[in-house]
Symmetry: C2
Subunit: 408 residues, 2 copies
């Protein structure tokens, strides 16, 4: 469905922005997965960050007892009560925020980033992003006409922040911001205080915005602590936080996020974009507000589960001959280097031509997460399935690598 | 809250697009309304299209019996079952659509229009819109960097489509589209077959896109029939429809709309923007799909109610000395010309300085609905309150016009 045709396009023409807009690298293999399933094959979906974890019970209960007669718009910045609840949530993280002008509820983290880009960038401006990075950042950049400039984080370093010199080399008169995802999708890497201080210094020196996507904040493992960009001192007007309930409470479909900044001018401008689209979703906001009451035990259980899954997956991958997979400290993704010629070919071959006990595995080629031409022999793995499924998926992958014609 | 400061802005600077983004003309009087309420005054809200009509019972019941364990993403184009349901809905209107590549579910009509503009326009392109028009079209245009060129519909003509010569005069090499809202917000005007044929001819002649916002389709009065732009022959690749459940089922907060076109290239491109933002809201889609089962009796009752409200409001307005208000055939808005010096001043004065039996009325100054400098003595009235409230609001307005210092 929705195929772009190769026939000569009729007038009126679509825009060059629409032509340049990248397709989702995560979703482009979907037709091959559908074909495999039609053949009766089990496909283990490690390709997409849709967790199987249940949404907190308090949220589902709340939705069953809605007392609405009219499903009305909310304030364009979101329900006042929800913003106040979010301020209390951040207060627990030692972050003081004013719910009246520093927090704006958005339609997912996606909209928060779209608004931030619209407010902060002129068309033609540049944003530096450590790669590999979340592929949809490219799409949001295209929407606002800004250019993504990558700085490469290396798999050999476990995807640590590249040295400051690498950033300095990329800064031009067009550079207006740096974007990080912490902990990272697709790497799972968690930035240290020292790395964040490096970013603070470079941002301050060059008057840049620092966009921090912290939607995986709760998912930190092995005793590691998440440090929010909002705690960095001296760059209060530069930091723009993107948040979301999607992964935190396993409710991706609620489409509720938040745009947060202490830069009042930025927030006042973002609200104008928010007013144009009227309001974030009412049902999702009700769910998001209730989710603030999720007990700590929910997170303890989820984190325990993810640590076990990560260990199964990453340890299992590293035991396979020729595979390298740094062990991430956060989120629920890992990037693995495989002994293959081309990740796009390999991922398609897994779905089209391979099966082991009538099962196969769907992975995301890492090429879509690099802005430069890297990642040709890397894949992103989302460990969002139960442990039994992960073991089976690992077996599939191991067997596949034995017989893949493009093995190197 | 969210005030833009006048102090010298710190580096880094926000974008010129953010500076140019218009504030919502409908919402900018809100602080004055809040002040009036703090003084204990009743404020009749005729300023915003938030109906008091109840959401259909089937929808509210459905939400009480959700059987979800995980609130997952949907397909980026929306649930397949919902798209199939929408195709059946349009089929009843004698419009054949393929749910697989001609219908995309969006986050409200707003997102549909944002995607359409992104796909169809280069920055600097021009779109012609008959004014007065829905103010947020300006915001969506700013987001995509396109310029709005108004063609003025006249209150003396009841806001009928301006003559074709007026359109021809405005067409340049930059013109790529015409946007209509039918029935119209803020005019309530319903276009005839002849007027739509005029638009068809001009669109075809100049290879333009025709964007049709038909979110008020069901609200047609006095036996008038709505004619969809999708039924116009010979411009199948030019027509882009924007739809929404917000007003149809009185569920504005669901944030569910649709982008519809038979132009496959356009739809395939729009899907890429849809993939970047992942999916429309899951709860809202469930509500939207259930709303397709709303019985005809619901609409019969709602339309009867709106006709009565319209008659009270419009007939009442025209009885006031110096007031002119064309009687609309659709939607639930009317534009009225008042004997006043300045609508912005008058609307603020109503909230700040006027009361009648400790009550006042909130209206939307029409200036925000014109791209040219017109509408200075016009207001938009949304007849979304019950009949008792409308009578009281009319009395307030009549008394206010007797004592307003800027009466002309």
């Amino acid at each position: 469905m929705f195929k772009e045709t190769n026939t000569q396009s009729k007038m009126p023409k679509i825009s060059s922005r629409a032509v340049e807009m990248p397709s989702s690298p995560i979703r482009k293999l979907v037709p091959f997965a559908e074909e495999a399933k039609k053949k009766g094959r089990t496909v283990y979906h490690l390709n997409i960050g849709q967790p199987d974890i249940e949404t907190p019970k308090c949220v589902l209960d709340k939705m069953h007892h809605l007392n609405l007669k009219v499903v009305e718009y909310s304030h364009s910045a979101g329900f006042q009560s929800y913003r106040e609840g979010l301020a209390k949530y951040y207060k627990k993280l030692n972050i003081d925020l004013d719910p009246n002008n520093e927090i704006m509820v958005t339609t997912g983290g996606s909209e928060a980033l779209i608004f931030a880009f619209q407010v902060c960038f002129e068309p033609g401006d540049e944003i530096i992003i450590p790669e590999p990075f979340y592929a949809n950042y490219n799409g949001f950049a295209t929407t606002s006409g800004l250019n993504v400039v990558p700085v490469t984080a290396k798999i050999e370093d476990g995807f640590a922040l590249p040295p400051i010199e690498e950033f300095e080399k990329k800064i031009t008169s067009k550079t207006k911001g740096i974007l990080i995802c912490n902990p990272g999708n697709p790497t799972g890497y968690l930035y240290s205080q020292e790395e964040l201080n490096t970013l603070r210094d470079i941002v301050k020196k060059h008057d840049l915005f620092l966009f921090a996507d912290e939607v995986y904040r709760e998912f930190c493992y092995d005793g590691a602590t998440h440090i929010s960009a909002l705690t960095l001192e001296g760059i209060e007007d530069n930091v723009v936080l993107v948040d979301s309930v999607s992964k935190r409470y396993s409710m991706c479909g609620a489409r509720i996020g938040a745009l947060i900044s202490r830069n009042k001018e930025l927030m006042a401008s973002a609200l104008k974009f928010g007013q144009a689209r009227l309001s974030p979703p009412t049902f999702g906001q009700i769910a998001g507000e209730e989710a603030l009451n999720t007990p700590q035990s929910y997170f303890d259980d989820v984190i325990e589960e993810y640590v076990e899954r990560r260990n199964i997956m990453v340890d299992g991958l590293n035991k396979i001959d020729g595979v390298l997979c740094p062990k991430p400290s956060g989120a629920f993704y890992a990037i693995a280097r495989l002994p293959i010629d081309n990740a796009d070919k390999f991922c398609q071959w897994l779905l089209e031509d391979f099966e082991y006990n009538n099962e196969t595995v769907m992975l995301a080629p890492a090429t879509g997460f690099y802005a430069s031409n890297l990642g040709q022999n890397e894949v992103r793995i989302a460990y969002v399935l139960n442990k039994t499924a992960l073991h089976s998926a690992l077996t599939c992958l191991e067997e596949a690598l034995k017989v893949y014609p493009g093995r190197v």
